[in-house]
């Protein structure tokens, strides 16, 4: 191609010179200069065409060669269908997987956030823990910030006509929110100052999705929408693709900021001043903490002056998903690399099998470059096929992955589109180049003419194959990395399952219900009592009860604790659960002493409280707590009536914390959101209770909105966390990598055996026992695998660090997992090596000698 460039370079000059010379000749012949030039142009003809034709000469040559090579490659692949198919499928698996995970990563992690200049946005420490009082104190004078908004997420009930009430997630925020985010509505307006003062006219801004669901009419601005029985005026619609703080939020409403309100439930997000970097706001955050410390007195647990920190918005919103996606991506890339090594070994085998062909062609004058070029075209065909199949796999895989990965509200933003092809093809080409590296080196180094002479003399050709060995070592190493990663994770998940949640997670259906606008406290209590009673009568249910917060979900009430003659506990908030009679029994929390909350614990009777073993241990060491009085929860003191075992009321992995259980009927207030639990009768699948329960709720309390229905077992799984989800994925991928690795070991060892068949045949013919040959071949395989295992351990030590945020009770460099991974590969490798070894050792030596 260089020749073409050199030849075409200066073509213009050449032609210009030509015409000038001709013009000069014409002038010499006596023509007027203008006529001379005209005649010269006429004589030359179409300049553009001449140039085009000259260029076409070279273009053709290139395409012709490519077509020729392509045809040759198709022919040669068709002659070896098993090889072609194996290569294409192996690569397609890796390409498809990598493209799918990349597709998910791109739409979730790499997509720009729908906020202007996201690098200027930061989320304040102590998320969901800020109060209106604090916000109003610092509003407009947060050091280093242009503007700061307060927001919290809420579920509100939307009811259209007589349809079932449904909950939608909204964000309730101070008026600054959209200014901070730098996002504007597509219709109407955003928030304006004054929207967030108490008793302001209630307004709402809809998400594009909710607007579409409500009809998508442009006249929606100014229309009314009823959220939580409050009619609100729609003042704006946000553009398609806008979300904050996650894609599940359907509307934004102003939060009426109440001076003196101390509800710890909000989050602060701010845009830094133009000259600041959101990643370096330590000094400003400390300044703000000092401002807060000067004005407010904090209990030790929620001291906002401690460890103040601003987290960049991207890290805050997407950070939790990053390790899971990256770990999966890394695993997929490993599989792709293993696949590449496999195919490279295949191609290498092909090159050696075709050594004679290549040697003959080289002797006839084919250049090495041309031979390499043909390999290249062949691989290009394979890669194109693999890329196409891989893209199809990725298309299906993205949907599967977005369900399998812990993406939360982002699961739906990862949908397959044409870009899987745009991803799969470059990956395929990169893989092809990687694959070609090995045989090209071998072709370059190999003495092609030597092959011809050696072939004829036969005999010892036991050397060589070093590249193949390197390949199989690399492959085993990669598989060990995968297996070690998956095992570490699996062990961590097993540890989590081993943590005793203190409840019987099987056989419990859960319905989260929000009940609003029912009336006064007594009516609310009656409504919940009716609902629980009706649910208890659902066929198949043994019992039903309600609680403000379930175990394993974390984040329930915490209340101050007061115990007679134990001063200073007031400041210590402890977990506080408000339940209905039979709740602890329904969950299967073991009763240790006394009784649980019963029907007799009602308004008017003495307040009863059940404590858990941790509370008894901590505050009543050596004393019988039954009959003692507890206070500090802002109501009348309550008498301890029973002690139950520790249930995981906070996070699963936290040490048991002191917990109190009190009766809903004896509370001065009733929460509007409750989790209703139904214990299924033995032998009944709890999931079958969910639909009847939903119907019962709709019948008994038509205004109640069902937030979600689930089962306690699922709640437990969620508590175990994202690791549980990716461990399934990683295990599947590990199995795949083991299969690929075994194929590689098998292929290389088989090839090793075939290459030495003649020498062994001679030796066996001379009396060497065949078993000795078998052990030699197996040993060869074992050495390769063992080397690979050691290299893999080193790689795994680096890789498993990616997983460390998921791990519980197991080190990222867990010796058990590493040993298991190594053992698995050794076992698989030994089997893979044994098959060709047996064949080599037990073959009839005469057959081997007669061949060729």
């Amino acid at each position: 191609m260089k020749r073409a460039r050199r030849a075409l370079d200066g073509l213009d000059d050449d032609i210009r010179d030509h015409i000038e010379s001709e013009t000069q000749d014409n002038i010499d012949r006596g023509m007027a200069p203008e006529e001379a030039r005209r005649q010269a142009m006429l004589a030359f003809g179409n300049v553009a065409l001449a140039k085009e034709d000259a260029r076409a000469v070279w273009r053709w040559q290139w395409i012709e060669q490519l077509v020729q090579d392509g045809r040759y490659a198709v022919r040669s692949l068709r002659r070896r269908p098993a090889y072609a198919l194996l290569s294409i499928l192996t690569l397609a698996l890796g390409i498809g997987g990598t493209a799918a995970v990349y597709g998910v990563a791109r739409s979730v992690l790499l997509a720009p956030l729908p906020f202007a200049h996201e690098r200027e946005l930061g989320v304040f420490w102590k998320k969901t823990d800020w109060t209106h009082e604090e916000y109003l104190h610092i509003r407009g004078r947060v050091p280093g910030f242009r503007q700061v908004a307060l927001f919290r997420q809420r579920d509100v009930i939307v009811r259209e006509g007589d349809g079932p009430a449904r909950l939608v997630r909204v964000v309730s925020a101070s008026a600054e929110l959209f200014d901070v985010l730098g996002a504007g509505p597509v219709l109407g307006r955003g928030f304006i100052a004054g929207d967030d003062v108490p008793h302001a006219e209630p307004v709402a801004i809809l998400s594009f999705g909710l607007w579409q669901e409500l009809g998508g009419s442009p006249s929606v601005v100014g229309a009314r929408v009823t959220l939580d029985a409050v009619p609100r005026t729609v003042v704006g619609v946000m553009p398609r693709g806008f979300w904050f703080p996650d894609p599940a939020v359907r509307a934004w409403i102003p939060e009426p900021l109440t001076p003196g309100s101390r509800n710890w439930n909000s989050t602060l997000v701010g845009r830094v001043a133009p000259d600041r970097d959101v990643r370096a706001m330590e000094a400003e955050a400390a300044q703000l903490a000092a401002m807060l410390g000067a004005r407010f007195v904090y209990a030790a647990q929620w001291d906002k002056t401690r460890s103040p920190r601003i987290t960049p918005v991207r890290d805050d919103l997407l950070g939790p998903m990053r390790p899971a996606i990256l770990a999966t991506l890394a695993a997929m890339v490993l599989i792709l690399l293993i696949g590449c090594a496999n195919v490279a070994a295949l191609v290498l085998g092909q090159v050696e099998a075709r050594a004679t062909e290549f040697a003959v062609r080289a002797a006839l004058g084919a250049k090495r470059l041309r031979l390499a070029q043909q390999l290249f075209v062949e691989m290009l065909l394979v890669a194109t096929g693999a890329g196409a199949i891989g893209a199809a796999l990725a298309w299906a895989g993205i949907t599967v992955l977005s369900g399998a990965l812990p993406l939360g509200a982002w699961a739906e933003s990862a949908t397959p589109d044409w870009r899987v092809f745009a991803t799969a093809m470059p990956i395929a080409m990169a893989a092809a180049l990687l694959v070609l590296l090995v045989p090209t080196v071998s072709l370059w180094r190999g003495d092609l003419r030597g092959v011809l002479s050696r072939k004829r003399t036969g005999g010892i050709q036991g050397r060589g194959g070093r590249l193949e060995n390197v390949l199989v070592i690399a492959q085993v190493a990669l598989a060990v990395m995968m297996a070690a990663g998956a095992t570490v994770l699996a062990r961590s998940v097993a540890n989590l399952y081993g943590v005793e949640p203190g409840v019987r997670t099987q056989g419990v259906a859960v319905v989260d219900v929000v009940l609003r606008g029912v009336g006064n406290r007594a009516q609310q209590e009656q409504a919940w009592t009716d609902l629980v009673r009706a649910l208890g009568e659902v066929p198949g249910a043994q019992s039903a009860a309600a609680a403000q917060q379930l175990p394993l979900r974390g984040g329930g009430y915490r209340m101050g604790l007061r115990i007679a003659d134990q001063p200073g506990l007031q400041e210590l908030a402890t977990e506080y659960r408000i339940v209905t009679p039979g709740y602890l029994e329904s969950l299967g929390v073991e009763l240790r002493q006394g009784r649980t909350i019963g029907d007799g614990d009602r308004q008017g009777a003495e307040r009863a409280v059940v404590i858990n073993a941790a509370l008894a241990r901590k505050y009543f060491a050596g004393v019988d707590p039954i009959g003692k009085l507890l206070g500090g929860d802002g109501a009348a003191p309550s008498r301890i009536v029973g002690i139950v075992a520790d249930a995981a009321e906070t996070r699963l992995t936290d040490a048991p914390e002191p917990v109190r259980y009190v009766a809903l009927a004896q509370m001065p207030w009733i929460d509007e959101a409750q989790s209703l639990v139904l214990r299924a009768q033995p032998g009944i699948d709890e999931t079958t209770l969910l639909e009847p329960a939903r119907r019962t709720i709709a019948r008994v309390a038509p205004t109640a909105a069902v937030q979600q229905t689930t089962i306690l077992h699922r709640v437990h799984e969620i508590a175990i966390g994202p690791a549980r989800q990716i461990v399934v994925l990683l295990s599947l991928m590990t199995a795949l990598s083991l299969v690929l690795g075994a194929t590689g070991v098998y292929g290389v060892v088989a090839h090793y055996a075939v290459r030495r068949r003649r020498d062994w045949a001679i030796r066996v013919a001379l009396g060497l026992p065949g078993t000795r040959v078998v052990s030699r071949v197996v040993r060869h395989g074992a050495v390769l695998v063992a080397t690979g295992v050691v290299a893999g351990w080193a790689g795994a030590a680096l890789l498993t660090r990616l997983l460390s945020s998921f791990l519980y009770g197991v080190s990222a460099v867990d010796s058990v997992a590493f040993a298991a991974a190594g053992a698995a590969l050794l076992a698989v490798g030994a089997v893979a090596a044994f098959v060709p070894a047996w064949r080599a050792g037990m073959a009839d030596p005469l057959l081997a000698l007669r061949e060729e």
Binding site: A7, D17, L42, G45
Partner: protein
């Protein structure tokens, strides 16, 4: 070599231009315009060649390895290529010339059989 169509001028047969270029270069390196002029003069202005078609022909010959070139300066003081025959081109010229002669003789015999003369 002008484009005026007159009955006494003939268009070139396919492929003949390549042969003529090779033949012209036999006398030594030349640049594009000189080659065109040489062909024109050599045929006593009988052959009708569009000068522009010379360039694709030259590139065809370079691609096949019959002609190579050096960068030089023309009499107009412009960067121009001087084309010259390669040894391979010289052999090709011999082959093509004898082929052409054989063909011309054969065609001539058919068109004007000996008996008719």
């Amino acid at each position: 070599m002008s484009t005026r169509r007159s009955p006494e001028r003939v268009e070139l047969l396919q492929g003949t231009l390549d042969l003529l270029v090779l033949r012209t270069l036999r006398f030594g390196p030349a640049h594009g315009h000189a080659i065109a002029k040489a062909i024109e003069r050599g045929s006593d202005d009988v052959l009708l060649v569009e000068q522009g078609s010379l360039y694709p022909a030259l590139h065809r010959l370079i691609e096949r390895g019959f002609v190579t070139f050096d960068d030089g300066t023309s009499e107009n003081n412009r960067r121009a290529k001087f084309y010259r025959l390669t040894p391979k081109g010289r052999r090709q010229l011999d082959v093509e010339t004898s082929k052409w002669e054989a063909l011309a003789r054969a065609v001539g015999r058919i068109l004007r059989p000996a008996g008719q003369q």
